[in-house]
Subunit: 444 residues, 2 copies
C-alpha cells in the first residue's frame, strides 16, 4: 500500500559505491512516514495514491541544521561587526535578558518558517524556554532535536529542570522530537555540572549538545587556567561517554583530534562556517575529523552571528572554505560536500539510519528543489548546482515524515502573517540593551 | 516635470558625512533617465506622473558587476573541482572552441536574465563575439561596459577588429553601452600587443579591461621569466596610462601595490571572491588598494568558476572574507561593504559621477528589494540585511535608465522561455570537450 507518490523527479541517491548521484525520472513511493520505493517513472499507479507531481525537479533529503538557536532570529542584525567577547558580553547576553517564554515561542516559529522555506526539515536547537520551541516544532510539522541550554550559574536545580524537559518531550510530536542535555559550554559550566549533565543523559538514554573549543583562544585559556583543553574537560567529566554533538571545534589542538578520534563512535561536530567567518573564529578541521570517523554536519548557528538560517549557504561556504584553507581546489569535491549536507548531518544527530538518504526504509523527509531558474541553466551538472547555484528560495515543496508542509512555496502548517505580526510587536522591547542585565559573562 | 515617482520606499543614500544610511519613507522622482529628487513621501503628485508603488521596500542603486564573461553561463557546471591550470587547458579553452556567434547571443541573454533577476543593471563584460553581447544588452535594457577579449596569438589584425567593435558600439543603446579594449592578460598578450591595445584605447578615448596578477604564482612566473611583475608589464606597455580595470589582482607584490597607488587615478580592481575561493587564487588585498585610492568594485567572474552571476553573493563573501583574512571581525563593516557594492563598483568602471548613488543628477538605475521575507525579519537592521541576509531572489523591481525592466520579478524586456529553449538546443554540442582544439594555452 502506497499513500503518496512523488512522480517524475530527479532524485539525489547513493550509487552502488555509496557516492551521491542523480537518478533521473524517478517515482518516490511513500507509505505512512517512510519511503518504500524509488523506481523509474512511468509505472501505473495503484488507485487511492496521492500523486505529487515532481515535474522533473530535484528531489533530495530534507536538510538538517545541526546547531542553531532558532529563536535568536528575534535579534537578527543587532550585533554586527564586533569581536566575539563583545558579541557575548555587550550584545547577546544582555539582549537575551529581555526574552520571555512567549517571545521564544514566536521567535521559534519565525525561524522555523525561514528554515522550512529554505528546505530545513530538522534542527538541533540549543536554547531557552524549550517547551515553547518544542510546541512550535510540533505545530510546524518539522523535526527537532532539542536541548535546554543551561549554565552552571543557574545551579543543579536548573539542570534537573532541563533534564525534565528532555524526558517530557523525548519522542514527542509523534516521534519528530528527540531531546538531549544542553550544558552551554565548558567555560560556562563547571566540572560537577558537566558530570551531572552526562549522568542525566545516560539515565535518560539521550545525548548531549554542547559548545566546546569554539575558537583557539578559548582552548588556550582553558589550557592556561587548568592544564586541560575543553575537549579533555569533556572527556574527564564523562561527556564523551554519551553521544555528544559539539559546536564548533574551531579551536582543536592535535591532542583534541586524537581524543575525538578515539571517541568517534559517540562524538560529532556541527559546522557553521558563516558564523566562523563573521566572528573570525577560524575554520574547524572537518576533513581531518571525518577521516578519523567523527561525523560532521552542517549548521547555521543562531541568526545573530549568521544572519540567516540557510543551510544551502552553509553548504556552499563549507565547500569553498575547505578548498581555500587547504590551498587545493580539488579538496571537498561536490559529492563529498553533498555527503556532509545529507548523510553527514544525519549521522551528526545520531540519525544516520533513518534520515539523510532517499532510500526504502528511510523517513520521508524530502525536498523538491526547483531547477528551472536561470541560475541553474543549462543543467549540465545539477549536483554542482546544488552546491554552488542553489538558493533557499529554490525550495519548492517540503515533506516531513510523509506529510507535505510546504507546497509551491506555500506554508501549510504555520501562519506566517500571524507570526510576523506577533514578532513585530516585540521588536522594540527586545532591542533594548542593558549590559549590566546580561544573563551570563563570557570570560573563558 | 517628473515622469515617474517611486512612492514610499526606504532609500539607501549617503548621509551628510558620506556614509551610507537608510532614508525611510521616501519618494524618488525621475525625469527621463535621471533621478531628480528624493523627498519624504506624502507630497501630492503632479498629474501625468507614473507612480511605481515602493511599498516600503528597500530602494538601492542598481548593482554593478565589474568583471564577467556573461555568455560563459552556457558552460555552467562543466569545470568543477579542478586547479586553475587544468581549468583553463582541459576545460575552458577547449569548451570555448565550440562557441559560435549565435551561441554567444543566447548565452548573453541567459546571463543577463540571471543578472536582472538578481538586481545587476550594469555589467563589464570581457568576451568574444561582442557585437552579439552588445545586441543582447541593447535588447535587455541594461548597461554594458563591453570589451572584445583578444590574445596576441590572434595577431594585430584581430586587435584592430576589436578596436573597431569598441568604436562601433561606444555610446550605443542610447548611451547604455560603453566600450573598452580587452587584451586578455599579460601572460597571453605580448608587449607589442599590449602597447597597441593602449594606443587604440587612447585614440578612441576609452579604457582597458584586462586580467592581471590573477594569482601569486602567475606573478612569480612573470618575475622569473622576465624580471617584471604583470603590473610592471602593464606600466611598461602604457596600459596604466589609460583607464584600466584589472581582474583580479590576487597576486600583487608590495611593489605592485605602490605602482597601482601611483596610478590610482587610472586604475581599478574587479573583485570576484567566489571564484577566488573555488579556484584557490588567494584574496586580493582590497583594503590596502582602497586606502591608496584605487577603486575596487564587486564582480562575479564567469559562471564556470562562480557558477552564478550573483552580486549579492559577491558582496557577502567579500565582507566575510575580509574579516577572516584580517583576523578582525571589525574589519569591513557593513557601511564599507555597501560602499564598495555601490559607489566602489561605479568608480571602478569610471562611472562614479553618474551611477552607484541614489541622488539628483544620477542615472535612474534603481532596485526595489523586497524585505518582507522571513529571512529579513524582524527588520532591526536593514543594512545588515542587505549584506548578510539578502538573496538575489529578493529583488522585486529593476529600473535602468529610467525604464522599468523587471516588475514584481516579471521580466519586461527579454523572452525568458525563448532563451531557455534556444540554450537547451545547444547544450549537448557545447559540452563536447576536445583538449587539442583549445583556443589558447595557459602557461604563465
Amino acid at each position: 500500500m502506497t499513500d503518496t507518490c512523488i512522480r517524475d523527479c530527479h532524485a539525489l541517491v547513493p550509487d552502488p559505491s555509496g557516492s551521491l548521484t542523480l537518478a533521473r525520472h524517478q517515482d518516490i513511493l511513500i507509505r505512512g512516514n517512510r519511503i518504500t520505493e524509488l523506481r523509474p517513472t512511468g509505472s501505473p499507479m495503484e488507485p487511492g495514491v496521492t500523486v505529487l507531481e515532481g515535474n522533473r525537479m530535484l528531489a533530495m533529503p530534507g536538510l538538517i541544521n545541526t546547531h542553531a538557536h532558532v529563536p535568536m532570529v528575534l535579534f537578527r542584525g543587532l550585533a554586527e561587526d564586533v569581536p566575539l567577547e563583545r558579541w557575548f558580553n555587550e550584545f547577546i547576553w544582555p539582549l537575551e535578558s529581555n526574552l520571555t517564554e512567549e517571545d521564544v515561542y514566536w521567535g521559534a516559529q519565525l525561524g522555523l518558517i525561514e528554515m522550512i522555506e529554505g528546505g530545513v526539515t530538522t534542527v538541533a536547537d540549543h536554547y531557552f524556554f524549550m517547551d515553547r520551541v518544542a510546541q512550535a516544532v510540533e505545530e510546524a510539522g518539522t523535526r527537532g532535536h532539542l536541548g535546554w541550554a543551561v549554565f552552571s550559574s543557574r545551579g543543579h536545580e536548573a539542570l534537573a529542570e532541563t533534564a525534565a524537559f528532555a524526558e517530557r518531550w523525548k519522542g514527542g510530536a509523534g516521534g519528530r522530537i528527540t531531546t538531549c542535555m544542553a550544558p552551554h559550554a565548558p567555560y560556562t559550566c563547571d566540572d560537577g555540572f558537566l558530570r551531572a549533565s552526562a549522568e542525566h543523559a545516560a539515565r535518560l538514554g539521550i545525548g548531549i549538545h554542547i559548545h566546546a573549543a569554539e575558537v583557539m583562544n578559548q582552548t588556550l585559556a582553558s589550557v592556561q587556567k587548568r592544564g586541560l583543553t575543553p575537549i579533555q574537560v569533556l572527556r574527564d567529566t564523562g561527556i564523551l561517554d554519551v553521544p555528544t554533538l559539539i559546536a564548533h571545534g574551531c579551536g582543536l589542538l592535535p591532542q583534541d583530534l586524537e581524543l575525538l578520534a578515539r571517541h568517534q563512535a559517540n562524538v560529532s561536530i556541527a559546522h557553521a562556517p558563516k558564523t566562523y567567518l563573521k566572528l573570525v573564529m577560524g575554520i574547524a578541521p572537518i576533513r581531518a575529523l571525518r577521516k578519523s570517523g567523527v561525523a560532521v554536519g552542517l549548521a547555521t548557528d543562531g541568526a545573530v552571528s549568521n544572519n540567516t538560517l540557510d543551510i544551502f549557504e552553509s553548504l556552499r561556504l563549507m565547500a569553498l572554505l575547505q578548498k581555500h584553507e587547504a590551498l587545493d581546489p580539488e579538496v571537498m569535491p561536490i559529492h563529498e560536500a553533498l555527503d556532509i549536507a545529507t548523510r553527514g548531518s544525519a549521522a551528526a544527530l545520531g540519525m544516520g539510519d533513518r534520515l539523510g538518504v532517499l532510500a526504502p526504509g528511510y523517513q520521508a523527509d524530502i525536498l523538491l528543489v526547483d531547477i528551472r531558474g536561470a541560475h541553474w541553466q543549462p543543467p549540465h551538472n545539477l549536483l554542482a548546482g546544488l552546491v554552488y547555484s542553489a538558493r533557499a528560495s529554490d525550495v519548492h515543496t517540503v515533506m516531513v515524515d510523509g506529510r507535505v508542509i510546504m507546497r509551491e512555496r506555500r506554508l501549510l502548517t504555520l501562519d506566517k502573517e500571524r507570526v510576523l505580526t506577533e514578532v513585530a510587536k516585540t521588536m522594540e522591547r527586545l532591542a533594548q540593551r542593558v549590559p549590566e542585565s546580561r544573563i551570563q559573562r563570557y570570560q573563558p
